[in-house]
Amino acid sequence: MDIRRRKILSWLGTWLLGICAIFFGSMLKSRMKFLVTQTSLRRLPLDLPQGISFHHGIIVNRRSNKYFVISAHCTHLGCTIDTMKEGELLCPCHGSRYSLDGKVVSGPARRNLKLLRHRIDEKENVLIIEDPV
């Protein structure tokens, strides 16, 4: 019985250390803000090709002079979608398919791609995406 208790104690002890480390880490994170990088506005030139174009984390669907901007991050696990096949956006990681306006066509993803707020700056001829990506 004594041996068994010691066994359990040593087992527990090992794990307690691990859990402590995690709490310590979460404390550390708040103290180490300088390690967290900041996100900023993204600017894209207005002269984008018609239809779908991919811009590192952003997908723009241009129809004449209307811009439809969605996040390229798959809602399943966050992979960057950068391919289109037969009129569907295709996630290269786990094969989620979305329609060109970001609606889920087939899984594993369940949520639609995030719509990104954006505005057009005609003076500078740029499309400004306001959401951090």
């Binding site: 066994k7 040593s10 087992w11 979460s26 960057t80 391919t83 786990h94």
Partner: protein
């Protein structure tokens, strides 16, 4: 059930008997792999630049044949390390080797599996190429499903897209843990010199035949992860809620850790369950490797371009 597990155990025993006639025991080979991988890793670290990971690897590969070769040795010895850890575990479990260790020791040694996995994956991420970036996003996603996911994510991967945390963990944290575990387990014994020869020889031979590649920042409608992750990738394709898989993995790991704590005869059932999981998972890895083509469609490998 009982007979089945006994049959399995006896088959394994025969297998390892044959093994021991040709090769040094897996334990020794593991240590040897560790040294080979660490040694080649040290050399690679000279050439690796954390600020431009992808580029520094390209320069290494394209400019220095020795560097390419060395990277091959590092890669292959690491693969063997992982495979041997699993084999060693099967070997020990099939002859109830866990009884020779204390529960704490067993639990610590069990962490060898996830820590090794982490070493492998962090190595994969350090390539900094497209598949590495995607793999990182998947891991971020997976960690994000956990309670306190943000904290985990920060501790393991840091924030932003930099590889500073991953690199630090790869070359120091995880390596150190593995070293300590091996040191404790082997009680300071050096591996037989023959194990070194085997591991170095095979790693060099395979490196000469097949170099680990880099993937290109180009189109591809299916990016396959590292081979041991393919089963997971397939499961993630099927299952919308990644948390189930994280929980599943945690349960398997929990079962492994707690084997010595379970009163007889239950450990047998646990072992059989783990063995079944492993076989299924390996099967899944293999099918994904061979039969998944572009666009996540099933494809016959001999019919592809």
């Amino acid at each position: 059930m009982k007979t089945l597990s006994e049959q399995f155990a006896s088959h394994m025993r025969r297998f390892f008997e044959l093994w021991s006639r040709v090769l040094p025991m897996p334990g020794f080979l593991i240590s040897a792999c560790m040294f080979v991988a660490a040694g080649s890793g040290i050399l690679l670290a000279f050439a690796y630049d954390i600020n431009r990971p992808f580029d520094s690897l390209q320069v290494l590969i394209l400019s220095n044949p020795a560097g390419t070769f060395l990277r091959g040795i590092h890669y292959w010895s690491a693969q063997f390390f992982f495979v041997l850890v699993v084999i060693h575990l099967i070997d020990q479990l099939s002859k109830d080797g866990e009884r020779e260790l204390s529960a704490g020791q067993w639990a610590r040694l069990s962490t060898m599996v996830p820590v090794t996995l982490f070493l492998m994956i962090s190595g994969y991420l350090l390539k900094g190429d497209r598949s590495a970036i995607l793999a990182r996003q998947v891991i971020e996603g997976l960690l994000g499903t956990l309670p306190m996911g943000d904290t985990f994510r920060f501790l393991v991967l840091g924030s932003g897209e930099g590889l500073q945390f991953v690199y630090s963990h790869h070359i120091s944290t995880a390596t150190l843990i593995v070293f300590m575990l091996i040191l404790e387990h082997s009680r300071g014994r050096w591996p037989e010199w023959l194990s070194f020869i085997w591991i170095l020889g095979i790693s060099m031979l395979i490196s000469a035949l097949k170099m680990p590649g880099l993937s290109h920042e180009g189109a591809g409608t299916l990016i396959k992860g590292p081979w041991f992750f393919l089963g997971l990738q397939q499961l993630l394709h099927w299952i919308s809620e990644p948390l189930w898989l994280v929980v599943g993995g945690a349960i398997c790991f929990g079962m492994l850790c707690s084997i010595p704590l379970i009163p007889a005869p239950s450990p047998k059932y646990v072992k059989v369950a783990l063995a079944v999981c492993l076989v299924l998972y390996m099967g899944l890895c293999l099918t994904t490797y061979a039969f998944r083509g572009p666009d996540w469609e099933w494809a016959l490998p001999w019919k592809s371009r």
